[in-house]
Amino acid sequence: MSHSLHRHGTREQLQQDYTFYARTSRYVNREGCGPKLRRILQILLEEGQVNNFGSSHAGKSYVAGLKPEEYALTLDKAYGLAACFSEKAAVRSLLAKLKEADTGISIVVSGLIDEIAAIAKGLDLTPHTVFLSLGVHGKRASLPEERVIEVTTMCGHGQVATRLTRAAMERVRAGKMTPEAAAHLLAQPCPCGIFNTTRCARILEAVREASAEADHP
């Protein structure tokens, strides 16, 4: 539940981070959902701008080696599929195609609420329900630094470790790893396909630039 809800980041970062779900209901439309989910997957892949995709039932995400044809075979009686995008235009285009396809499967988009509402308005869609994040409460002193949380919360199941994130940042700072390679490494533990490697690489690049500036003010 809610695994894409509590992503941390600045508004600027979140403008480049959208997650997408096609979700069946066990009470309404899971039975016989395979062909519809495969159609949605096909539309998703045709869109071309998808950053990552998968779902936990498949055991690994696209960036961890999940092949689209292998994934398609897992979608009978599945709870759904997930993906992430870095471009708002791609989300708009995908929703337009899904509206036309009219599969009847519930569609959820996570990201900046006002921007998603604007996309919906432009496509004459009527958003139904929203899940709001009211922040982190309790023992906040135990949390790592915000830059780390911006990365780790891209896996809503908490599979991306703080220690791995700090180590990746250090390797990027030291020039031992590119931001893209480090983002790919960080995406490996997340099986759901919502870890946005493009956004992660941008965060790591910013960490490297900040470090270089500190060294050579």
Binding site: M1, S2, S4, L5, H6, R7, L14, Y21, R23, T24, S25, R26, V28, N29, S56, H57, G59, Y79, G80, K99, G104, I105, S106, I107, V108, V109, S110, L112, D114, I116, K121, L125, T126, P127, H128, T129, V130, F131, L132, S133, L134, G135, V136, H137, G138, K139, S142, L143, P144, I149, T152, H157, G158, Q159, A161, T162, R163, L164, Q188, P189
Partner: protein, 240 residues
């Protein structure tokens, strides 16, 4: 999870992948603090060990320890819900299930998130407060199966000290209960020995607005600008 001491070469490659940071070096070899391990399976799944020294011992598959993997490994199903995942369909399918109607709010308190983990005792502290407020607990959430007494919120004694990566309390309230529920929850949440990510599900008003936003702001729990939006594309739609 455990490391086979006969196979471990002491490279410690696995340690940085552990979300609980509970793999340490002991006498030149990797060692997992099993009291802190939540059985998420990340170290094993990423295939980082060059000598296949990581393994799931039979103790990890026995109740009550078994619930650690059920809450922490997204690929392991809960026997009570017969599906993987810590929660439910919640608002993702609300357009076709009508679980949250206008006049109602869904709430989700996710303990241990982000990245800290939680003992189930921390959930019990809050659950007892909720039970006194007549909220409607979500029976299809896997935490519900661990409750021993539905009137007090006491958990089954054998599970109370189990540690998980995260677990969610899901419940529903009438919209007029918002001020009371938030007011009573905040001091209790401030005292728990972990972190809690708090979510609220609500219908859009017929004019597309979200009246809950100003009420939450006034209560000192403002909503973040990003959230999850059910686009209303499921069919047949309930309560358009």
């Amino acid at each position: 999870m455990r490391i086979d001491a006969e196979k471990c070469m002491g490279c410690m490659e696995c340690a940085e992948f552990c979300p609980m940071d509970c793999i340490v070096e002991r006498e030149g070899f990797g060692y997992i603090d099993e009291d802190e391990c939540v059985e998420c399976g990340v170290c094993l799944r990423v295939g980082v060990c060059p000598n296949d020294a990581l393994f799931i011992p039979k103790e990890s598959l026995c109740y009550p320890r078994l619930i650690r993997a059920q809450f922490s490994d997204p690929g392991v199903a809960h026997p009570s819900t017969n599906q993987a995942g810590r929660g439910t369909e919640e608002m993702k399918t609300n357009d076709v299930t009508g679980r949250f109607r206008r006049g109602e709010f869904g709430m989700a308190l996710e303990f241990g998130r982000p990245g800290i983990g939680t003992r189930l005792t921390e959930i019990e502290k809050v659950l007892q407060t909720l039970m006194a407020m007549q909220v409607e607990l979500e029976e299809n959430n896997p935490v519900f199966a661990l409750v021993a007494d539905k009137t007090t919120g006491r958990l089954k004694p054998e599970v109370r000290n189990e540690k998980v990566l995260s677990a969610i309390l899901e419940f529903k309230i009438r919209q007029e209960q918002l001020e009371e529920v938030v007011g009573r929850l905040r001091p209790v949440l401030a005292e728990v020995d972990t972190v809690v990510s708090w979510g609220l599900a609500t219908r859009f008003a017929e004019n597309g607005s979200l009246p809950a936003l100003s009420r939450l702001e006034a209560l000192g729990v403002p909503a973040r600008p990003n959230g999850k939006v059910n686009m209303g594309m499921g069919r047949p739609i309930v309560e358009p």
